[in-house]
Amino acid sequence: MSTRSASVLYDVPGPRARARNLILGVVGALGIAGLLWYVFSSLNDAGQFDSLLWSPFEYTAVQQRILNGILATLKVFGLAAVGSLVLGSLLAAGRLSDHFPVRVAATVVVQFFRAMPLVIMIFALYQAAFGAQPMWALVIGLALYNGSVQAEIIRSGINAVPRGQSEAAYALGLRKTQVMGLILVPQAVRSMLPAIIGQLVVTLKDTSLGYIITYPELLWEMKLIASNSDGYPYIPVVLVGTPLYILLCLALTGLAHWIESRGRRGANRRTTPAA
């Protein structure tokens, strides 16, 4: 038996279906191989595998550039991640507040910044106040946008804790702060973590907007390398830079899965394993 023995969409394949799948698989494999070959040959015809275009990556100065770019990206990501989580917790607390004005204010802020394109915000911040330090325009923009999204994640996580939990806590005489801090938040955190880290991946990807406001993060450095080298090696630079971003994001996603599986070890044993 294969590991995917059954699916909602089709029956377990019999001999004829297996033969058909095999044929489809071969056709599909040929098609994909053809596609890859086409990409490779058009790159090759354009002379993109010329050693001249790839030689810049042998220079220590260029390697240092890439490293600096990664570090700058991670620095902005770290600051923005902390900022967005702090802001998100505050806004979520505001949205769950018992006081009507606080609730309205937090709602307006969250809805506004969630609907705003990040580029527009970062560019306005850059032009208005941070022309000399684009990093802070980037960090503040990222923290505002992602903070609003995190606020919604945290709020829905807290709302998803069964009502009986808070009712029982109130019945025992706990105050609202105690109910939140002792009962709701600890339970909510476990269910929220994958979504929060998922949003952190978005934050990491969005640091590349620094390119638009000339902050020297990875993408900006990539462009500089390409435009300053002989033959303008944009394609080699993209082929090197994209995997770097993908690896960074996958590392964060991997962290999310790891935390999720750890969380499941403990009290949550009731949940059925993923099918």
Binding site: A29, L43, P117, K205, D206
Partner: protein, 216 residues
């Protein structure tokens, strides 16, 4: 606040607004098509197609959109492929959004319990009936809300196209800023335009969700 009515600012603003909508609508269409194809690959019984779609989705979901724009803007001309900047933007946005659409569809199909299909088959329904009458209608309902967030994000993401020579709202913002109008005033006008777009899409999807909702 009157800057919008000075000179030909309003026509530039209106043009940018329409261009943003055009770009988002076209990309939404292609992203939906691409997403459907990729999702079909991802749930297909043929392993090769599943691997291909998984690889595609992993690559495009983890690549920053700015990098994607950068790649199509600078890479295609080097291969002697010359498109207008608008076409290039549609390609980048569709490829990016399509992988998110694929994930939403796949997750939607996975939410349908296996028992539903088994029950349908044991009632004697054929493959087409099982799929069309039992599985897909249930999957469609659970897909609408996450699909809504993907398509609300699309016009927001399209703003990046402004940094790559497409004359839409972000370019209008840059253009007006260069003419030394108040940065905050410009921001308010651009913000209003985006708020209008995103609330319209939001309303559309919540209507859809209400129409298709089933009391459980």
């Amino acid at each position: 606040m009157g800057l919008i009515f000075e000179g030909d600012n309003f026509s530039a603003f209106a043009e940018g607004f329409l261009r943003t909508i055009e770009l988002s609508a076209l990309s939404a269409l292609f992203a939906l098509l691409l997403g459907f194809v990729l999702a079909a690959f991802r749930v297909s019984p043929v392993p090769v197609l599943r691997w291909f779609a998984t690889a595609w989705v992993t690559i495009f979901r983890n690549t920053p959109l700015t990098l994607l724009f950068f790649a199509v803007t600078f890479v295609l001309p080097q291969l002697d492929v010359h498109f207008e900047s608008f076409t290039v933007a549609v390609i980048a946005l569709s490829a990016y959004t399509g992988s998110f659409v694929c994930e939403v569809l796949r997750a939607g199909i996975n939410t349908v319990p296996l028992g539903q299909a088994e029950a349908a088959r044991s009632l004697g329904m054929g493959f087409g009936q099982t799929l069309g009458l039992v599985v897909l209608p249930q999957a469609a309902r659970s897909v609408i809300s996450p699909m809504g967030s993907v398509f609300i994000a699309l016009p927001r993401n399209s703003a990046i196209a402004g940094a790559f020579n497409v004359p839409e709202l972000f370019s209008v913002q840059k253009h007006l800023t260069e003419q030394s109008y108040g940065i905050f005033e410009i921001f308010i006008w651009i913000a209003l335009a985006y708020l209008a777009i995103s609330f319209t899409i939001n309303a559309l999807f919540s209507t859809l969700e209400r129409r298709l909702a089933v009391a459980r």
